[in-house]
């Protein structure tokens, strides 16, 4: 199957180094302390943050830092075939863990001891890159909740098909059997905080693909900053500043 045609176009008409269209919105769940929706092409996710609040399970309370919890669930209708188990399966549990560890590393948890921060991510539509979309949505939701962080965390994936590194794989490209590298970075600090890959790649090609994913993360970062800036301007107007 041809994932990159002779003219250099992918299945959805993108160029190899082109990301899908990004769309984000802050404050979609008013009941939550912070929330955001994030779309990467046809992948749509919503993240809601509740916290810092009192720890529900006293035995898990930590006296020197905040407890960060995360749950990832996919809607029944998010995938092409109707999905029976929406949460609690192995993939969802693993992704919940990945998001929790990634966000925990960047939240200044020692500023909020004996408290709990809950991050809930709900996938509405899955078309590849759900992990990355969830992390990006969680970052925006945490910012909306006003939770102090070291830096934003942005994430993007990249792969290698038909001898070409491809940025931001959709579901078809992801299922093609080639490598899928997911990277999460702290853009200002220029540090990698999440790195996952499946399938196999020669070392030099891996470096190229990972570098491409990092570039994608930086593009997401500039988009997120734009959104946050717009949001702050709106808040200023509402406050009458």
């Amino acid at each position: 199957m041809e994932y990159v045609n002779p003219e250099g176009l992918r299945l959805d008409g993108r160029r190899p180094m082109e990301m899908r269209q990004l769309r984000a919105e802050i404050g979609v769940v008013s009941r939550a302390d912070g929330s955001a929706s994030f779309e990467m092409g046809n992948t749509k996710v919503i993240a809601a943050v509740y916290g810092p609040r009192e720890v529900q399970n006293r035995s898990q309370q930590m006296n020197d830092q905040a407890l960060v919890r995360c749950e990832y669930s996919m809607a029944n209708f998010s995938t092409g075939d109707r999905r029976r188990k929406t949460k609690g399966d192995r993939r969802s549990t693993e992704i919940s863990l990945v998001i929790r560890q990634t966000m925990e590393a960047c939240i200044l948890t020692n500023l909020m001891p004996r408290s709990q921060i809950d991050i809930y991510v709900q996938v509405l539509q899955a078309d590849g890159g759900t992990r990355s979309a969830c992390i990006n949505a969680a970052t925006l939701a945490l910012a909306d909740a006003g939770i102090p962080m070291r830096d934003l965390v942005t994430s993007c994936s990249a792969g290698y098909l038909n001898s070409t590194p491809l940025l931001d794989l959709n579901y078809l490209e992801d299922s093609a059997g080639g490598a899928d590298v997911t990277v999460g970075i702290l853009p200002k600090l220029d540090k990698v905080t999440l790195l996952q890959m499946d399938a196999k790649l020669p070392m030099d090609i891996f470096e190229n693909v990972m570098q491409l994913a990092v570039e994608g993360c930086k593009a997401v970062d500039s988009y997120i900053r734009e959104i946050l800036l717009e949001n702050t301007k709106t808040l200023e107007i509402h406050r009458g500043v």
Binding site: V29, R31, I46, T79, D118
Partner: protein, 298 residues
């Protein structure tokens, strides 16, 4: 046996003063957000939000935000009803709406909502009197039919989930296109009948018989329509009535502790019928506007 978790005023965080203020306001026909007792919050409808489903809609009722999606799959009719298709309604409460919905916390509420919706929309065991006519889903008697899976997701909750879900299902069904099917006569007509599912032609689902659900919440001596979660936490009981365009009652559910005098219930039913007319009109015009907006988009 687990105790049913009620939305208590403590969970919503209301002080005694606030509780009295809300109750007093309702008694004087002036609710916290300025509405009268029988006024709905502004309804916002968007259709076609889930492109891979046969039909879908997102409905916002104030801060309550729900998505409904309709997927049609080929299946076999039940042996007891060979002339009908099957409809399944399933609700899921996302933890984004309420932290207590994480893991299995939302199961109880999801089940309650699913069953209430099935009761309101699917009619009796024989399929009689259903808002969604299962006979229209038949392809070949006894062999092939459509299975409709209606999946709903509650994203954000500020009260009145049942009405919002009912509206979302109605909008999603209006948006639903069932592929045209050609039945090929099989050589051995035992179990399998071959069907050709068209990729091109779609039949719009007929939603004129689909009812809306109106929930009346009793607070003190008065009933209100479209309660917010604050108002719901003060309710003594609630009755949800589904009414269709012809003013016929398609289903009724009473929830909540306090007992109601039968005359009160009859009064609530007539109030619900009156309110449902306005709701139906508003909903239909919103759905039309949403469908038009979809068509105008390139």
């Amino acid at each position: 046996m687990r105790m049913k978790k009620k939305m208590t005023p403590e969970m919503v965080g209301l002080s005694v003063g606030e509780k009295n203020f809300i109750k007093g306001g309702i008694a004087q026909d002036l609710r916290n957000d300025g509405r009268k007792r029988l006024t709905y919050r502004p309804i916002y409808v968007e259709t076609g939000v889930i492109p891979q489903a046969n039909g879908s809609a997102r409905v916002k009722l104030g801060e309550t935000d729900v998505i409904a999606s309709v997927k049609a799959e080929l299946g076999k009719p039940r042996v007891s009803h060979p002339d009908q298709g099957k409809v399944y309604i399933y609700v899921e409460c996302s933890p984004t709406a309420e932290p207590s919905f994480e893991r299995r916390g939302g199961d109880e509420l999801s089940t309650e909502l699913s069953i209430a919706l099935e009761r309101s929309l699917l009619g009796g065991k024989s399929g009689a009197g259903a808002g969604i006519n299962p006979a229209s889903l038949l392809i070949k008697e006894g062999k092939v039919c459509w299975d409709l899976y209606v999946d709903c997701l509650v994203i954000s909750s500020d009260g009145n989930l049942l009405d919002a879900l009912g509206a979302a299902i109605k909008a999603a069904l209006s948006n639903t296109g069932i592929p045209r099917v050609q039945v090929r006569e099989a050589a051995s007509s035992d179990e399998q009948a071959d069907v050709d599912v068209s990729d091109e032609e779609f039949l719009q689902f007929d939603t004129s018989g689909v009812p809306v659900i109106v929930t009346l919440t009793k607070v003190g001596r008065h009933y209100i329509v479209d309660a917010t979660s604050e108002e719901e936490s003060l309710m003594s009981s609630a009755v949800s009535i589904s009414v269709n365009r012809h003013g016929m009652i398609c289903g009724l559910t009473k929830r909540g502790g306090a007992g109601l005098d039968p005359s009160v219930i009859l009064d609530m039913i007539s109030v619900a019928k009156h309110v449902s007319e306005q709701l139906l009109n508003k909903l239909d015009s919103e759905i039309e506007a949403a469908e038009r907006a979809n068509e105008e988009e390139p």
